[in-house]
């Protein structure tokens, strides 16, 4: 049975589709199948143009309560569309907080499995195979579904390049939410945005990250200063996020963000698997660490074996004197 229709779970932030949404639409379009998006929230009508440009002919607008956590209502609306006759062969879901909630709920509702942590997809006739990075990226596994459709893939950010096509704005079709019972009772009371200056971590051209080698929370300031001087974003290893030095939103790695900047500068990061998975796709990697045996040096294009407390301040001074 050929792959005739692909659904993409479309997320929006600040009035625009997220970069991962556009990556998934581009990938869906490349299969030659019909592409439709499923979106929620107040922005759906305003993002329909952009979703269309990247390949969606239709966007199903889940008219959920704006304060409801999206997982349950969006999955229920998708399941209702399917039982109402829609037949997506493949559902692509971004590996985000809400995306994973929707995928898990949809899987249980439809009684079909879900494949997560996808970093690549290949379509060959009636088959779709997914690629997965294992053991810190040293091995690549290929997986496929053996049962009924739809096949739900949860895909990591930056797995594909986003390229606009020439499609017209997607047609907005309402997708009502059925009665959810208790599952729909999780409500957002307040939203807190952490203050951010400069580019987003996963969109920045330059990322400067700090790890446990910084020694103390206050030393993270030099990571932020260096990032600012390079017009980049400041990242962190899981170790210092867990230690409470910096907020989780800075975390790069398996359980944090995936980044692929032009330059990644790792300061005082040894290179645990957990971290490397999130940054080894960077075009150029600079590592500064006092331990010459640190695993990070095995993937660095330029490795400085030295104390971050000495090297980074001098680097900051040198950059300041240039501007």
């Amino acid at each position: 049975m050929a792959i005739e229709k692909v659904w993409v779970l479309a997320e929006a932030a600040e009035g625009a589709p997220t970069s991962t949404t556009l990556e998934l639409l581009t990938q869906a379009r490349s299969t030659g199948a019909a592409v439709e998006a499923v979106a929620w929230g107040p922005d759906t009508a305003s993002v329909a143009g952009e979703l269309g440009k990247y390949g969606a002919s239709t966007v199903f607008d889940v008219g959920a309560d704006a304060d409801a956590l999206p997982g349950a209502p969006v999955a229920a609306a998708m399941a209702a569309l399917i039982s109402g006759g829609q037949r997506p062969d493949v559902v692509l879901v971004p590996a985000t907080y809400d995306g994973r909630d929707v995928a898990g709920r949809l899987s249980a509702r439809l009684d079909v499995p879900v494949i997560t942590n996808v970093v690549g997809l290949t379509t060959d006739g009636d088959e779709v195979r997914s690629q997965h990075s294992l053991f810190g990226g040293t091995q690549v596994a290929t997986a496929r579904f053996t049962g009924g459709r739809p096949w739900i893939f949860v895909v990591r950010a930056k797995s594909f390049a986003a390229e606009p096509g020439d499609g017209a704005a997607a047609q907005v079709v309402p997708a009502p939410v059925p009665d959810l019972g208790a599952t729909g009772t999780a409500t957002v009371l307040a939203r807190h945005a952490e203050e951010r200056t400069g580019p987003k971590l996963d969109e920045a051209d330059v990322v400067v990250s700090g790890g446990r080698g910084l020694g103390a929370a206050e030393n993270y300031a030099m990571i932020e200063e260096l990032a600012k001087l390079l017009h980049g974003a400041a990242g962190a290893s899981r170790a210092i996020v867990d230690a409470g030095w910096v907020p989780y939103s800075h975390q790069v790695g398996q359980t944090g963000k995936t980044v692929k900047p032009t330059v990644y500068i790792a300061c005082g990061i040894s290179g645990a698997t957990q971290h490397m998975v999130g940054m080894k796709g960077s075009k150029n990697i600079v590592a500064i660490n006092k331990d010459a045996d640190a695993p990070i040096f095995s993937i660095a294009d330029l490795g400085i074996v030295g104390d971050v407390h000495k090297v980074v301040p001098k680097l900051i001074e040198a950059l300041k004197s240039r501007s």
């Binding site: 997982g71 999955a75 907080y97 994973r100 909630d101 898990g104 709920r105 899987s107 249980a108 509702r109 499995p113 879900v114 494949i115 997560t116 942590n117 195979r129 990075s133 053991f135 990226g137 040293t138 091995q139 690549v140 290929t142 997986a143 496929r144 053996t146 049962g147 599952t183 009772t185 999780a186 409500t187 957002v188 009371l189 939203r191 807190h192 945005a193 330059v206 390079l230 907020p247 939103s249 398996q254 359980t255 032009t262 330059v263 080894k280 600079v286 500064i288 040096f297 095995s298 660095a300 294009d301 330029l302 490795g303 400085i304 074996v305 104390d307 000495k310 680097l315 040198a318 240039r322």
Partner: protein, 259 residues
């Protein structure tokens, strides 16, 4: 308040992982330990039960081989008892099958709150707790970095792309916690001794009223077809800092036209 904490016993992450060459599933022979990520849920459960002034923490876990060493660690922290679904038929279960088994086992404990980690350290699928919630007809809040309970509701600070949301939902509910939600206690000597005699209720798939064909490799709707070595990223130039290491970085950034 009664809390169920879903825990997973995994191969020691410090030992390099391996895949079975035929089935391409993770090799789980040898000693299994409590997944580090689960210690946060156990600690959170213990604290919430204490704050509520009563109730206990029940562990729910699934393993193909009757392994209990990881459960004993969590019992030593203070959990009252464990339900372990152990059955050869579970070998090769995917996330949805795992969720079906856990959901049936959780129903037996009749909890007010179900806690789990956001994802396991070995498989990191990250969907099982939400699948459990859907199967149990409960609301769920994932990625909690703070959890409190009061007046029949759970209040969560949930991580988001931008920062965090304050989310509330009525109990019973499923909540997944991140590392750092609380600082897990170390089991005391007394706790370790007490854990040895705490009840571990071992159940089979049939005991739960599930069809063995729904779980394990037989029920898995997915398979790994191939595993190959990834293209290696080559190490580049290494400079030992003797006071001017920063100059190499500046030159490198210039060459890339970043500055």
């Amino acid at each position: 308040m009664n809390v169920v904490v879903c825990v997973k016993q995994i191969p020691d992450p410090a030992v390099p992982g391996a895949l079975d060459p035929t089935t391409h599933t993770l090799v789980r022979e040898g000693k299994l330990i409590l997944d580090d990520s689960d210690a946060y849920g156990v600690e959170m459960g213990l604290q919430l039960a204490e704050q509520a002034g009563g109730g206990e923490v029940t562990l729910v876990s699934m393993a193909p081989n009757g392994e209990t060493s990881g459960l004993r660690t969590a019992l030593a922290m203070g959990a009252a008892k464990a339900i372990l679904v152990s059955d050869d038929a579970l070998r090769g279960s995917d996330a949805l099958a795992t969720a079906k088994v856990l959901a049936k086992a959780i129903e037996r404990a009749q909890p007010d709150l179900v806690l789990a980690a956001t994802e396991s350290t070995d498989g990191y699928t990250g969907t099982t707790p939400v699948q459990v919630a859907e199967l149990l007809g409960m609301p769920s809040v994932t990625f909690a970095k703070k959890v409190s309970v009061g007046e029949g509701k759970v209040h969560v600070e949930r991580q988001t792309e931008a920062g965090y949301d304050e989310v509330e939902c009525p109990l019973p509910a499923v909540v997944t916690v991140t590392a750092g939600v609380v600082e897990p206690r170390y089991p005391s000597f007394k706790g370790i001794m007490a854990a040895k005699s705490k009840p571990v209720d071992q159940l089979t798939v049939a005991d739960l009223g599930l069809d063995p064909g729904q779980v394990g490799a037989a029920g898995a709707g997915q398979e790994v077809t191939e595993v190959v070595a990834a293209e290696e990223r080559k190490a580049g130039e290494i400079v030992v800092d003797e006071g001017n290491g920063f100059e190499s970085v500046v030159a490198f950034l210039e060459q890339l036209k970043v500055i």
